[in-house]
């Protein structure tokens, strides 16, 4: 299956590991991620605070390019996904908006090819193939699937999963042989940019998620959004210091776990680049060779 891959701004910067791991596993699972040519910023969190029309027009241009190619967009980042889905929904539900958007981006866009999250793409088309490709099942790994706020909300158009109790990442965790833990904070807010701007509020939110994951008995957190990853991984050390006891909860992208289970080297998946050491847990569990031989990069 061929998709127009829309990396967005974060997949080449803060979310590099997501990009690396997705690109590494996709070909093995029969998915062709063809990078959308001449893509532009989706506007994410800033555009819709400024101008509603602009916030629809920015993603619409990307979607229109995809439509030109006859491809559905596959979107890794949850924020990009949310904006693109919102645009698709707006165009589909109002002829007036449709006309306006087309005139703004100066090209036709009919929302003919449904926008998909990368997570959805893997769930829909590669779960069977994955079973054949698994060489190192992650048996005995307890993982907390963390979805954040945008993956399955709002229900109007993010119709891929249950908004209160999503399951897609849990399914992947099970598929790679690990054990998803049941916990209540799967969709709790990670604070997005607020931990930076308002550290008091923001860090409380991150802290709550980490604490609940710990209580649930998880050994790691698995997520599908570069922003969530950034907050949970990078802020973890400081929060641990503050409470006087480290959390030690490595955070993975689901794509990374899939890669490990398929026997790919962790460096190829960017696992060596995390803030919280993510290699040790994998080597302790003997999914990868011992830490010494693999730790070249170390925490960035």
């Amino acid at each position: 299956m061929r998709y127009a891959y829309y990396p967005g701004c974060s997949l080449n910067s803060s979310g590099l590991e997501y990009n690396m791991s997705a690109q590494a596993i996709a070909p093995l699972l029969g998915i062709d991620l063809f990078e959308l040519p001449e893509w532009n910023c989706c506007g994410a969190s800033s555009a819709h605070l400024q101008d509603h029309t602009l916030a629809l027009a920015l993603p619409a241009r990307n979607l229109a390019i995809g439509e030109d190619l006859g491809l559905s967009l596959a979107i890794p980042c949850a924020a990009c996904l949310s904006r693109c889905k919102a645009t698709e929904h707006a165009v589909r539900s109002s002829e007036e908006t449709h006309t306006l958007i087309e005139s703004l981006i100066d090209r036709p866009y009919t929302a003919a090819y449904p926008v998909k999250s990368l997570l959805e793409v893997f769930i829909e088309s590669s779960m069977d193939l994955l079973q054949d490709k698994i060489t190192k099942p992650l048996t005995g790994l307890k993982a907390a699937a963390y979805y954040g706020c945008l993956q399955a909300r709002p229900t109007d158009y993010m119709d891929m999963d249950d908004p209160e109790y999503p399951q897609t990442i849990d399914i992947i965790i099970e598929a790679v042989g690990a054990e998803p833990v049941d916990w209540a904070h799967k969709t709790e807010c990670c604070g997005n940019g607020h931990p930076t701007a308002y550290p008091k509020i923001g860090s409380r939110l991150v802290n709550r998620i980490l604490k609940q994951a710990e209580i649930s008995g998880a050994e790691c957190i698995v997520c599908a959004c570069p922003m969530c990853f950034f907050n949970l991984d990078m802020r973890q050390k400081a929060l641990g210091q503050k409470r006087g006891r480290p959390f030690n909860l490595p955070v993975y992208y689901y794509t990374q776990l899939m890669g490990i289970a398929m026997g790919l080297p962790p460096q190829k998946l960017g696992i060596d680049k995390h803030s919280v050491n993510a290699l040790d847990l994998l080597s302790q569990k003997r999914y990868i060779p011992t830490a010494g031989s693999a730790a070249e990069g170390g925490p960035a």
Binding site: T155, D162, Y165, A184, H185, E188, Q212
Partner: protein
């Protein structure tokens, strides 16, 4: 030759000041068919009416047009008047020259010209008017009440007290409904069973009431005064005549299953009465739970029964009974809170519904009235109540307010504070709605005397942490997030229509709204009637209601039933649709547009002249034609417009009559 008399009323100066009545009466004389015309100061007065009667006799008039005020005002008066002179009342027409002419115009010439036209139209129509006679339908003096909750019991008692026979059908083994499960009632806090069970006994002992329990309505045919209702009596496997109700069978029964009455918090035997005060107090065998029905072995109850009442061969039985009127009191069900992901999808045993709580505090409930939480039987110290679960929530539940939850939550919180020492009761609410007598005072007592904490805001999540429930919500007054560590959470779940309400409504021919509650005929003026004559509503099947409202509505429905049954027969308005079967092609387009299900297709058999095309000669053919049930038809005429050939016509407003009005100008 038809002879029309035209009578122009001045209505004092109301008409005469802007319309020249003398000129009108003169002009009317020239209209085709008019044999007599006159004017008078007050046509509706006694002398005026006498004048009309006299003129009918003297001039042999066979049609009358009165040009006066709106027909909505005095049509009935003048119909009676012409009837007094021996004319059929439907040969009268009114020209509305007051409300729709003299009062709304000031130019006398133009107003008079218009009034002339209005009279011309009325005369044209009157010439096409035919005698109409109300048809008379007999009223069968027996009522059916469907649903044996408090509304149904009350309706049955009220009807029975006036001397009419009532059958009370209940699908559970006992009457009593939801009220039997409730512990105490707001705002008086008297015990629910103490006020309900005497009524149940009254119903059982009433000479005019027959309780048909463990039975369901299968089919309703017929119309007002003459409903033929088929009732399925489900097999009880216990002969109610032989059974003494000793209860020994239930004690010895080895098969156990969850008790619906106790909200699945305790077990009951397969041969059971739902609760000790059940009426009828004869057990039934739940065949799905019974060991004999599952394995073919057991029969302990049969062996043990001294009066030989157990009969495993018992079968469902269908009986058809005729009723004059029906009261629908099928009640409500509760929203399934397991749909709320943020409240744990039902995975936390200590998150329970309000009805579960009623059983937990009830002295005869699974915990003998001690509030113990389901997970470990511990007494909860902190109990959180969440209101509007499924109500006022368009996303997951219903838009509407369930009306009773504010009050019963206040009641529950009070009981927690009352029964458990050093306990804490926290109520999360959106608004407090206490629009009933002594309701606000009751709520204030909960806050002020019992110290219940009310937090204005929604709960966003409930989760477990070290064996405790953490309730995470927002206090919108303080503008802050709060966490409450709770031992138990009680959800005030929405009242919703019975799951089979829509199917039931279609079965008996009444309508329902977008929430599947049954529609009343008018939200303000006909609150207990349905669109189907002779079928009335009582209780929460029409919309969420508390006990006082249900009882009041039941009384109102009973009064309507009694008013209907008090007559031997009923005259129906003769303005009904009529089928010309010669013209009807049996296409059935009239059937779906009738809101009263008054039209059905019947089959005619006819001999054809000659032969069927390419077929044998002299064959009989069958064809379908529409048939209007005059008892059900309300005369709206929607069917006539969907009838392309005009085979259906509306008496009193026929195609010819309306065309005559159009053509007259």
């Amino acid at each position: 030759m038809k002879k029309v008399g035209v009578f122009v009323c001045h209505c004092g100066t109301n008409i005469a000041q802007t319309v020249n009545c003398e000129q009108l009466a003169e002009a009317a004389k020239t209209l085709p068919g008019v044999a007599y015309s006159t004017e008078y100061k007050y046509m509706c007065s006694d002398p005026g009416q006498t004048m009309i009667k006299k003129a009918i006799e003297e001039h042999n008039l066979d049609r009358v047009v009165v040009a006066a005020c709106s027909p909505r005002m005095h049509e009935a008066t003048f119909r009676k008047c012409v009837n007094g002179a021996g004319l059929n009342p439907y040969l009268l027409e009114i020209a509305n020259i007051r409300e729709q002419c003299s009062w709304v115009h000031s130019d006398k010439t133009k107003a008079t010209a218009k009034a002339e036209d209005l009279i011309r139209m009325a005369v044209a129509k009157a010439l096409k008017n035919e005698k109409l006679t109300p048809s008379v339908i007999p009223i069968h003096k027996r009522a059916l009440v469907i649903g044996g909750g408090i509304a149904g019991i009350q309706a049955a008692l009220d009807i029975a007290d006036t001397g009419y026979q009532v059958d009370l059908v209940e699908r559970e083994p006992s009457i009593g409904g939801k009220m039997a499960q409730i512990d105490k009632t707001f705002p008086t806090m008297d015990c629910s069973a103490c006020i309900l069970t005497p009524k149940m006994v009254d119903a059982a002992q009433h000479p005019n009431i027959t309780i048909i329990a463990y039975s369901e309505v299968e089919k309703v045919e017929g119309y007002v005064g003459n409903f033929d209702v088929t009732i399925r009596r489900k097999a009880t496997c216990v002969d109610p005549v032989k059974c003494t109700g000793c209860g020994l069978c239930s004690q010895k029964c080895p098969s156990k299953t969850d008790s619906e009455f106790e909200c699945n918090m305790s077990q009951r035997p397969a041969i059971y009465s739902p609760f000790p005060q059940a009426i009828p107090n004869k057990p039934v065998i739940d065949q799905e739970a019974c060991r004999y029905f599952k394995t073919g072995k057991c029969k302990i109850c049969q062996k043990i029964c001294a009066s030989d009442a157990v009969n495993f061969e018992d079968q469902d039985e269908l009986v058809t009974i005729r009723y004059g009127a029906i009261v629908v009191a099928t009640g409500y069900s509760l929203y399934d809170y397991n749909q709320y992901g943020e409240y744990g999808y039902g995975q936390y045993p200590d998150v329970i519904s309000g009805l579960d709580f009623e059983r937990l505090v009830n002295a005869s409930g699974p915990t003998m009235g001690k509030i113990k939480r389901p997970s470990d039987g511990q007494e909860p110290k902190t109990v959180v109540f969440i209101k509007c679960v499924g109500s006022r929530d368009a996303n997951r539940g219903h838009d509407y307010c369930s009306r009773a939850c504010c009050m019963y939550t206040a009641k529950h919180a009070t009981m927690v504070r009352d029964k458990i020492k050093d306990s804490q009761a926290v109520v999360f609410y959106m608004d407090i709605r206490t629009p009933g007598k002594n309701y606000e005072e009751f709520y204030l007592r909960a806050v002020e005397e019992y110290g219940v904490t009310y937090v204005r805001g929604r709960v966003s999540r409930i989760y477990m942490e070290s064996g405790n429930l953490i309730v995470q919500g927002e206090d919108t007054i303080l503008g802050t997030q709060i966490l409450v560590v709770a031992d138990m959470v009680v959800l005030a779940t929405a009242m919703e229509a019975q799951p089979d309400a829509a199917e039931f409504a279609r079965k008996i021919g009444i309508t329902f709204d977008q929430n599947n509650f049954f529609n009343e005929a008018h939200p303000k003026l006909r609150p207990v009637e349905t669109f189907s004559a002779g079928i009335y509503l009582a209780g929460a099947c029409q919309g969420p209601k508390d006990i006082p409202d249900s009882v009041a509505q039941a009384g109102a429905a009973a009064a309507k039933v009694v008013a209907l049954l008090s007559k031997d027969e009923m005259a129906t308005e003769p303005i009904v649709a009529e089928v010309n079967t010669n013209h009807c092609s049996g296409c059935g387009f009239c059937v779906p547009v009738c809101p009263y299900k008054a039209i059905s297709l019947k089959t005619l058999t006819e001999r054809v002249h000659g032969s069927v095309a390419w077929g044998p000669a002299g064959k009989e053919i069958t064809r379908q034609v529409a048939e209007v049930n005059k008892g059900l038809c309300q005369g709206c005429g929607a069917c006539t417009v969907n009838c392309r050939s005009g085979a259906l016509d509306l008496l009193g407003f026929t195609n010819e009559q309306i065309l005559a009005e159009v053509d007259s100008l």
